[in-house]
């Protein structure tokens, strides 16, 4: 493929840094915006990780006084809010931004300027949230971040119990950055529906696209309820409204219903992209087509629908009636079925293959084992009487970290090692990648497997310290120890980035011998993506090109 302005030209012309900066700040190009989303998300990941490390240092021993309760409570609030809204959402938006147009043979997204606006709204929202550390006036004086938990239950988050502006920063930060996600969703849907290249019917779309579509529809459905609930909370706090004001007849549980109506689809919004990355990476490294494409699509779509019907399984302890408890338990267990089917399909893809355990595949294999556990602990939490013990304990913390780290972050790491060569033209070090993988997996297991036991032994979540006589010390120490290994793993990733700059290994167009359209462009792709509009006849256009004697379209 002819590249008109590849990296070589850019370096040779040695443009002034103001030009380069302007390029990035004013860009509407999906590739640059994708990189900016991912880059910002990774920066927030480091910040959220530091908050987590501080909390685990505080909890390593009982009755510790490293962090005051005020600081600890702000840290768990900011850690959760950061990881969900400022790490998870932007990184998945970033990868979708970069990959989706390339995968469908398009030139850019449907609404490039909306795309750019969305990025800057996300970033602005994140800055608003973090400004709270400096600027907000909380109960204890200036400079307090919000401390009401990432789901800000009422009436704790109301004016009476959260004085000052800390909670308002939480509301506004998320509100503003939510516009970024929403505009991203609109763009994904419009692009995937209207800008696919010739021959790419919906049945020939890569699974990545299908899953991005389900995620985008969920975003359209789930983010506005959060916005609505937050606006109601703002009205309560600033205009004296009584939506969640229990002193005036308002209902504290109504906030929970609204929040979790958003919150449950949100966690599927976060984890379905993990499925998307796995669905692209596992086949390539197993050297086999994905097993059961149609079933994978059907399973993902049904997960999307079911995800909107299960929200009150976060509320089993609020005193709902028997009928509601039974319904939400049952429907939550039902959603485990399509999820399980996907795991089986991935394993079936690997089965009979010639699996190359390069770094992306290492992370995806760990993902399979860990997401399996995450799903099973989810079933345990869906089992309402079991949940009456496990809810709001460290078991829940273990479960959702298994989903979000063991599932999402693992596949994000996989996706980074997989698509970094396409994005930059340079490979990431395989050696550092392996160190990253093993250190991180060991640390992850030490921390989060142990946590399940703390929950079953009665340790609630969101406590800044615990007594010495409850038998939780060893478990907490091991949990905290795992942080060291995870941090070391992440440092290896950073070193890999540095190495890619200082000693770049050229990647070529298609370092992994993959099959979707993005690998037919140069690395990095030219600004216009494709010199000629591609035309496809199957789900794996590059497989057809590489195996003209045995193309996919004969079998699909």
């Amino acid at each position: 493929m002819v590249a008109i302005d590849g990296p070589a030209e850019r370096h040779a012309s040695a443009r002034p840094w103001t030009d380069v900066l302007h390029d990035w700040v004013a860009t509407v190009d999906h590739k640059k915006l994708g990189l900016m989303y991912i880059g910002s998300g990774l920066v927030f990941f480091l910040i959220g990780g530091i908050e987590a490390a501080a909390m685990r240092a505080q909890l390593a021993v009982p009755n510790n006084d490293l962090l005051s309760p005020e600081v600890f409570n702000r840290f768990f609030t900011m850690h959760g809010t950061t990881m969900v809204f400022l790490v998870g959402m932007p990184i998945i938006t970033g990868f979708a931004n970069f990959v989706l147009p390339l995968m469908i043979g398009a030139r850019d997204m449907a609404f490039p300027r909306l795309n750019a606006w969305g990025f800057w709204m996300f970033l602005f929202g994140g800055l608003i949230l973090y400004f709270s550390y400096l600027g907000s006036e909380g109960l204890y004086g200036a400079g307090t971040a919000p401390d009401v938990g990432w789901f800000a239950y009422s009436p704790l988050a109301g004016k009476a119990f959260s004085r000052g502006n800390a909670t308002d920063y939480w509301i506004l930060g998320i509100l503003v950055s939510g516009f970024g996600s929403l505009s991203g969703a609109v763009n994904m849907i419009a692009t995937a529906f209207t800008m696919r290249c010739k021959g790419m019917t919906v049945r020939r779309m890569p699974l990545f696209i299908w899953m991005t579509l389900v995620v985008s529809f969920l975003m359209l459905l789930a983010l506005p309820p959060l916005t609505a609930a937050q606006v109601m909370l703002l009205f309560d706090r600033f205009l004296g409204a009584h939506f969640f004001d229990t002193q005036s007849g308002g209902d504290a549980v109504l906030w929970q219903h609204f929040f979790w109506f958003f919150g449950h689809p949100e966690v599927y919004i976060l984890v379905i992209p993990a499925f998307a990355y796995a669905s692209e990476i596992i086949p390539v490294f197993s050297r086999k087509v994905i097993f059961g494409y149609a079933v994978m699509v059907a399973a993902t779509v049904s997960i999307g629908f079911l995800a909107t019907a299960v929200w009150a399984h976060h509320m089993f302890t609020v005193g709902m009636g028997k009928g509601l408890n039974i319904w939400f338990a049952a429907i939550t267990m039902v959603v485990g079925i399509p999820t399980g089917i996907k795991i089986f399909n991935w394993i079936a893809t690997m089965y009979g293959g010639r699996i190359r355990f390069r770094v992306p595949m290492l992370f995806c294999t760990a993902f399979l084992a860990q997401f399996l556990i995450a799903g099973l602990t989810g079933i345990m939490l869906a089992a309402t009487p079991f949940d009456w013990q496990l809810s709001d304990s460290y078991f829940v913390v273990a479960h959702f970290h298994y989903v979000l780290i063991g599932g999402l972050v693992m596949t994000i790491f996989a996706a980074i090692y997989y698509w970094f060569p396409k994005m930059t033209g340079v490979m990431l070090s395989e050696t550092l990648g392996r160190w990253h993988f093993w250190l991180f997996v060991v640390g992850f297991q030490l921390t989060f497997t142990t946590m399940h036991f703390q929950g079953m032994l009665g340790m609630p979540r969101r406590i800044y310290t615990y007594p010495a006589d409850r038998g939780w010390e060893i478990l907490n120490l091991i949990t905290s120890l795992g942080v060291v290994f995870q941090a070391a793993g992440v440092i290896c990733l950073l070193l890999a980035f540095v190495q890619a700059v200082r000693r770049p290994q050229p990647a070529g167009d298609d370092p992994w011998d993959a099959w979707t359209l993005e690998w037919s462009t140069s690395s990095p792709p030219p600004a216009y993506n494709f010199a000629e509009d591609p035309e496809v006849r199957s789900r794996r256009p590059l497989w057809d090109l590489k195996h003209p004697e045995d193309p996919d379209w004969k079998y699909e």
């Binding site: 302005d5 860009t27 509407v28 190009d29 398009a106 030139r107 850019d108 997204m109 449907a110 609404f111 490039p112 300027r113 929403l182 969703a185 609109v186 849907i189 419009a190 692009t191 529906f193 209207t194 800008m195 290249c197 010739k198 529809f217 359209l220 459905l221 789930a222 983010l223 506005p224 309820p225 916005t227 609505a228 609930a229 606006v231 109601m232 009205f235 309560d236 205009l239 004296g240 409204a241 009584h242 939506f243 005036s248 007849g249 308002g250 209902d251 109504l254 609204f258 109506f261 600004a527 216009y528 509009d533």
Partner: protein, 198 residues
Amino acid sequence: MSEAVAVETQESRWNRGKVGTLCLIMSETTFFSIFIVAYLFYTGKSLNGPYPVEVLEWPWLATACLLSSSVSVVLAVKFLEKGVIPIFIAFLFITALLGSIFLGFTAFEWYGLIFEHGLTIRTNLFGSTFYSLVGFHAAHVTIGVLIMLLILVLSLGGHVRSEHSHRVDMFSWYWHFVDVVWIFVFTVVYALPLWPPF
């Protein structure tokens, strides 16, 4: 500049404008649903008055204006498609006018509620849910009217031609959505309190 703006590769039945507008409408639907759920949930739960049956009057004229504006906007688009610009401008102006009259009625109603009946957003649960639901709807009407004013200004300058009709069509979908929301608001806020079982 090495970057150009994306160009649609093919004009399919579903162009990006239509899909984008539908997505926007979907997300706005869920946004309004939460306010409607809150309103229904808190019906009859206010600890003190004023109560809806005491202070609300059926907004017949306002509703008539808003619903007929949906007809006029359809006509506006039709005439733009045919290229008859002056009639298009007339119908678009009528739509904006009807929308503004609706807003006028809302303002008048709110003035009465606040200053004569003492109902504000902080008075009771009814006040909180009423003003937020009706207020957000009115805000969406306002945005629609402002967009129409913008289109009118551009049309008067001769910049709007029949090949732009699909864009005004997109706006008309938004305007119909605003109308449908009003039907729900009308039912839930004004009709239900006066229905015996309630």
